[in-house]
């Protein structure tokens, strides 16, 4: 969709010239979120601003859908892409509805169509149109304003969205929420998005791919998994941090690491003495009690000792359970917090689908990193 071909940007000329971007080439596929990541002054924002011609390219070409952007009218070009910035930049003199309507109005949409679209967008960003359309930006909280900023960027239904640290100024709790909402929206809309960020967590969470910049060069362009598990050089490794194993856990889902067929499952209607026999045979001290496909709790040999009834009456309920689609990091956190050696995993309906233990997590990490360690062995 967007192709950067040997793009350079040099500010000034002569001895005082500053190279902001040095011969950068990469390609953004249609429907992909690519996060431009890096420390400040690395060229990520410059790359974004070259894309809608807010800055001009010194050398190289950027093509969008096969067309060179330098051969297009800059105003038309910008109107064809959504633009969302960290400072939001809502127009304080216009109402929320008028703010959202800016680009559609420039494109000459009819009043009815604009009004309909405004309401649709407000609902999409979880703000009640009846309540908000005639308010002014100053009456909204920072998080609400940024929702409007996103809605405004999407107003004319552009194929491409350029976002410059859009959630950077929002407090951490609201940021998580607005990121989640945005991902949900993106899942439906499938826009092509260039997303500038300096936050590795955000990049891992939001990006289908990450373009990591340093000093005007594109250092590594890859999926978050590859950036985390196979950093190309020391800069990348340092940037993603020494806790990158934990970050990988944030990317993996519980269901990818869990044991779907644990050996210590006891059906709820099993009588206690039989359960003791079962656990002793499997050499387990604990059993997970499942009744009619739903997890009930766990039992230890000690619990069962003097019992005679079905195990479901003796089982201790789990203090917490993990959803299969939750990040593995959450599961690890639950296990640490609740002092559990085993976590029960359920699906969206609450049905038992497996268990996850420390060992499962460790193995999952090792699997991801195995390529990297093999490479290292080979070079020795």
């Amino acid at each position: 969709m967007i192709t950067y071909d040997s793009v350079s940007k040099i500010y000034g000329s002569g001895p005082g010239a500053v190279t902001a971007l040095d011969n950068v080439s990469f390609h953004i596929e249609k429907g992909e979120v690519v996060v431009f990541l890096g420390p400040s002054g690395c060229g990520k924002t410059t790359t974004l601003r070259l894309t809608n011609r807010l800055d001009s390219i010194t050398r190289g070409t950027i093509t969008i859908g096969g067309r060179d952007i330098n051969k297009q009218d800059p105003v038309r070009l910008r109107q064809s892409m959504g633009y969302v910035i960290q400072e939001i930049g809502l127009f304080p003199n216009k109402t929320i509805a008028q703010n959202i309507a800016v680009v559609p109005r420039m494109l000459g949409w009819s009043k009815d169509k604009i009004s309909e679209r405004t309401d649709e967008l407000l609902r999409m960003v979880q703000l009640d149109p009846a309540l908000y359309r005639d308010r002014y930006p100053a009456e909204l909280s920072g998080g609400q304003q940024q929702r409007i900023g996103v809605a405004r960027g999407l107003a004319a239904d552009p194929e491409i969205l350029l976002m410059d640290e859009p959630f950077g100024a929002i407090d951490p709790i609201n940021r998580e929420q607005i990121q989640d909402e945005f991902l949900k929206v993106q899942e439906k809309l499938k826009k092509t998005i260039a997303f500038v960020s300096h936050d590795i967590h955000e990049a891992i969470k939001m990006g289908d791919k990450i373009a990591l910049f340093s000093e005007g060069r594109l250092i590594q362009y890859d999926t978050p998994e590859m950036i985390l598990t196979q950093p190309k050089n020391k800069f990348v490794a340092d940037f993603v941090g020494s806790d990158r194993a934990l970050k990988v856990l944030g990317l993996m889902r519980v269901r990818d690491a869990m044991n779907p067929v644990p050996l210590n499952i006891i059906q709820g209607d099993t009588l206690a003495p039989a359960a003791i026999g079962f656990l002793e045979e499997k050499k387990r001290r604990y059993g997970v009690v499942v009744d009619g496909g739903k997890p009930v709790g766990f039992v230890s040999l000690k619990d069962l000792k003097f019992e005679t009834g079905p195990v479901r009456d003796v089982a201790t309920p789990f203090p917490v359970m993990a959803q299969g689609r939750q990040p593995l990091r959450d599961a690890l956190s639950m296990m640490l917090m609740h002092d559990l050696i085993l976590l029960c995993v359920i699906d969206g309906n609450g049905d038992f689908i497996g268990t996850v233990s420390y060992q499962n997590i460790q193995r999952a990490i090792l699997d991801v990193y195995s390529d990297e360690t093999e490479d290292r062995d080979a070079t020795r």
């Binding site: 809608n52 807010l54 105003v75 038309r76 070009l77 910008r78 109107q79 064809s80 633009y83 910035i85 400072e87 939001i88 930049g89 809502l90 127009f91 304080p92 003199n93 216009k94 109402t95 800016v102 680009v103 420039m106 002014y136 930006p137 100053a138 009456e139 900023g149 405004r152 960027g153 350029l162």
Partner: protein
């Protein structure tokens, strides 16, 4: 001292002089706005020009009004307008330039850069940006400049009586010449009241023309 009595017996003349005063000030502020606001906007796009233009306006401001009339007299005499309303209006237009240009320049410059960046990035042309965003946000400060200019001009116009421009300054000047206290004070009071009324009226216009969203913003930042 019977000022009311004086005004009553000279009501027609007092009204005429007030009207003349209003006319001189109104015309000069009008012309100054037509020149000053576009110049103020223009120099926000050309920074090097901005300093020079504002400095030039500053210099006019420092010339005492009576001296300016003196300087203009021989020049305008060439066109047969050395005395009368023409030099008065020209001087008032020159004096108005500083508050109008400076306020316009500062107001446009103070539009938050994020707002301008967002507008441009969304594909607004310079003209659209100016018309829909920059001017509405700048309007309260621009109007404050007009208000300063108008009130200042009411005072200076009173001095323009020395070049035969007429207006309420006539009462003050003639009163002094004839040692006629009632006349002096009546002229002074009328000029002052006029200035206060215009100041109040302009404040009202400023309030009325400030976009609602900006008023809300201002209230909250207090």
């Amino acid at each position: 001292m019977d000022i009311l009595g004086f005004l009553q017996s000279n009501a027609d003349q007092a009204l005429y002089l007030t009207w003349e005063h209003m006319w001189i000030v109104g015309l000069s502020v009008g012309i100054a706005t037509v020149i000053g606001v576009p110049v103020g906007i223009l120099i926000t796009k050309y920074e090097t020009l901005a300093k020079r233009v504002i400095n030039a306006a500053n210099i006019f401001m420092t010339i005492p009004s009576i001296a300016l009339f003196g300087l203009m007299l021989p020049m305008l005499s060439l066109f047969g307008h050395g005395l009368g309303k023409v030099p008065a209006v020209i001087a008032l237009v020159l004096y108005s330039q500083l508050p109008i240009i400076r306020n316009t320049y500062v107001a446009i410059k103070n539009v938050p850069p994020a707002v301008v960046n967002a507008g441009r990035g969304m594909g607004m042309s310079n003209w659209q940006l100016l018309k829909e965003v920059e001017l509405p946000i700048a309007i309260p400060v621009i109007l404050a400049g007009l208000r300063t200019a108008a009130v200042m001009n009411i005072g200076i116009a009173a001095i323009a009586t020395f070049v035969g421009a007429g207006g309420l300054g006539v009462y003050i000047q003639q009163g002094i010449d004839r040692v006629y206290d009632e006349m002096i004070v009546a002229g002074a009071i009328l000029v002052s009241v006029f200035a206060i009324v215009v100041d109040g009226g302009m404040a009202g216009i400023e309030h009325a023309l400030t976009p609602k969203g900006l008023k809300i913003q201002r209230k909250q930042s207090k």
